[in-house]
């Protein structure tokens, strides 16, 4: 009997039973949310981006599906503030699952404040959201500027001992920003966030999202995300979490061979009609794939497509 290939992986020092976690912003600011996300079978839970104080977010419509298979959102980083971290971490511990707190802020100090709370409450790691394309002052303006990335990451890494992962979005300087994040002490990178986009209703002749602009996610952005992962891995051989348009197991595989040690899934959760099985189904297929190619574990194929 052949042994089943292993899907165990580690990223940024976090040990994972398998490479599939959820993407930030799909639920994730209450213990109930954590319970639901855990029931999907993710190997770790990533929370919604948490800011120090409650943030109201935009008025609906905040999330809509598009005819190109993607999702467009401008939630506006709505969250109840850092107080919710405690109950989420407790819930995750009860369930025995690693929990990564996504951290947002308008200033370096705000990032550090939430990160400290996360560490204090016993979170597994921190993901710095440096890339939201539609929350003014909280997002992509930071990730686009390698110097700002450096100082936010540095500031957070200097006050916390748990792993710090920097989440970057698509930008002209994403490669440089990635380098700066690593230099500043990030143990890993999540690539990428949504891409700024919009949709207009051609009958009422109005933009649909209340915020007018939003972030595009889902299958449309996948080939772009794979490209970013590939380029960043090629340059830095960093620990990368691939994010963007993972819908089928093949997308996970593609991210991994491009250089990701794990992936995050967002949009696909919603479109799946078998939410409580689809992670498991992807894992089965990934095992079969590794077996077919003669590999013993998924870590063997991380970045293997770089050899050309």
């Amino acid at each position: 009997m052949d042994q089943e290939p292993s899907l165990r992986t580690s990223v940024a020092g976090i040990e994972l039973l398998h490479p599939i976690m959820n993407a930030s912003g799909f639920l994730g600011y209450s213990k109930e949310h954590i319970r639901r996300l855990a029931s999907y079978g993710f190997s770790a839970i990533v929370t919604k981006t948490i800011t120090p104080y409650p943030k109201k977010g935009y008025d609906p419509p905040i999330i809509i599906a598009l005819s190109n298979g993607g999702l467009l959102n401008a939630v506006g980083l709505e969250n109840p503030g850092k107080e919710c971290i405690n109950e989420m971490v407790e819930e995750a511990k009860k369930l025995g699952i690693p929990i990564i707190i996504s951290v947002g802020g308008a200033t370096e100090e705000e990032f550090a404040e939430v990160a400290e709370e996360a560490e204090l409450r016993g979170a597994t790691a921190i993901e710095l959201n440096l890339s939201c394309p539609h929350a003014k002052g909280y997002g992509i303006e930071i990730g686009m500027d390698p110097q700002k990335v450096f100082s936010v990451v540095k500031n957070v890494a200097s006050v916390t001992k748990i792993p710090v992962i920097a989440k970057l979005g698509l930008s002209d300087k994403v490669l440089e920003s990635a380098g700066k994040a690593l230099e500043a002490g990030a143990s890993g990178l999540t690539l990428i966030n949504t891409i700024k986009a919009m949709a207009i209703d051609i009958y009422s002749l109005k933009p649909i999202l209340t915020n007018v602009f939003g972030g595009l996610s889902g299958p449309p952005i996948h080939p772009i995300a794979v490209r970013v992962v590939y380029e960043v891995y090629r340059e830095y051989k960093a620990d990368i979490i691939g994010c963007g348009g993972v819908t089928k197991w093949e997308d996970v595989a593609e991210f991994v061979v491009a250089g990701a040690r794990a992936v995050e899934v967002g949009t696909a959760i919603i479109f799946s009609t078998t939410q409580h099985k689809f992670v498991e189904e992807m894992l089965d297929s990934l095992r079969n794939w590794l077996k077919m190619l003669g590999f013993k574990g998924i870590e063997e194929v991380v970045g293997i497509a770089q050899k050309i």
């Binding site: 912003g25 799909f26 639920l27 994730g28 600011y29 209450s30 109930e32 949310h33 319970r35 639901r36 029931s39 919604k48 008025d59 609906p60 419509p61 905040i62 999330i63 809509i64 599906a65 598009l66 005819s67 298979g69 999702l71 959102n73 939630v75 709505e78 949709a199 209703d201 051609i202 009958y203 009422s204 109005k206 933009p207 649909i208 209340t210 959760i269 919603i270 479109f271 799946s272 009609t273």
Partner: protein
């Protein structure tokens, strides 16, 4: 499957055909989708996009081959603006959302509706007529002028269902609240008992009937995205989301939520 989910979650353009008061407190909205068609079940709801103003969850009140109907009460800015839209204006709808909840063949159902909780009932009745399920509806309102003629508005056949009206001003129908009438009904005769209306009413309903299996409520909660992402509609103490697991739940699933929501 995937495609059909996606289609449900797209904001589909629609034209207002009719939009007017039908009773002292309620309005009826009739719309036609411009480029899509949808399949709807009772208790599905739609997020109605009022351009540049709001996205409002409303239960499907009735649907025919061409139109979708909604019954709503003005509560805040969103519903107020909605009520001002004129025939010919355009809106968008995201849906059908939520899980349908519909009768199997030859059942007996009891519906307890409070106020605008009556909204999904006409469409439910039209399904019941097709499946030969008998439905008794207890409809309670505060003021009698809230009543409108259920069967007339949607041309429902007067067959297989009964309406028991109850008003707190005692001007029309029985005198009291919907729940007060429930005490004089023999619950055991029904395969399904479902309440829909204000949270306080649903809580009392579930407390009254908590030891039974077949009692349901159709809940309201803060619905923002309607598609299971934003988390605003989660039920406290549960991992359920109203927008994709509901709006109809067993009492046992929501009693914690109701207890902690109503202080």
């Amino acid at each position: 499957m995937l495609e059909s989910t996606r289609l449900r979650y797209i904001v589909k353009p629609a034209r207002v055909i009719e939009n007017k008061p039908i009773s002292g407190s309620m309005h009826i909205l009739r719309i036609e989708l411009i480029r899509h068609s949808v399949e709807v079940e009772p208790f599905n709801f739609f997020n109605i996009w009022v351009p540049r103003v709001d996205e409002i969850p409303l239960s499907i009140a009735y649907a025919d081959s061409k139109s979708l109907f909604f019954i709503y009460r003005i509560r805040g800015v969103g519903t107020k603006t909605l009520s001002q839209l004129k025939p010919g204006e355009f809106i968008g709808v995201k849906g059908p959302l939520g899980k349908g909840f519909k009768p199997l063949n030859n059942r007996r159902w009891l519906i307890v509706a409070g106020g605008v909780g009556i909204a999904p009932v006409p469409f439910l009745l039209s399904f019941a007529i097709k499946t030969n399920t008998k439905i008794d509806v207890i409809w309670g309102v505060k003021k009698s002028d809230e009543f409108f003629d259920l069967s007339n508005v949607f041309g429902l056949k007067q067959r297989g269902w009964r309406l028991i009206k109850v008003s707190e001003d005692c001007q029309d129908g029985l005198c009291g609240t919907a729940l007060s009438v429930l005490n004089s009904v023999s619950i055991n005769d029904y395969d399904v008992v479902l309440a829909i209306g204000p949270q306080q009413m649903l809580l009392s309903f579930c407390r009254m009937l908590k030891d039974r299996e077949n009692v349901y409520v159709s809940l309201e909660n803060m619905v923002k995205c309607g598609i299971g992402v934003c988390g605003s509609c989660y039920l406290k103490g549960s991992h359920k989301l109203l927008c994709i697991d509901g709006p109809v739940f067993k009492c046992s699933e929501v009693v914690d939520h109701l207890e902690s929501s109503i202080s």
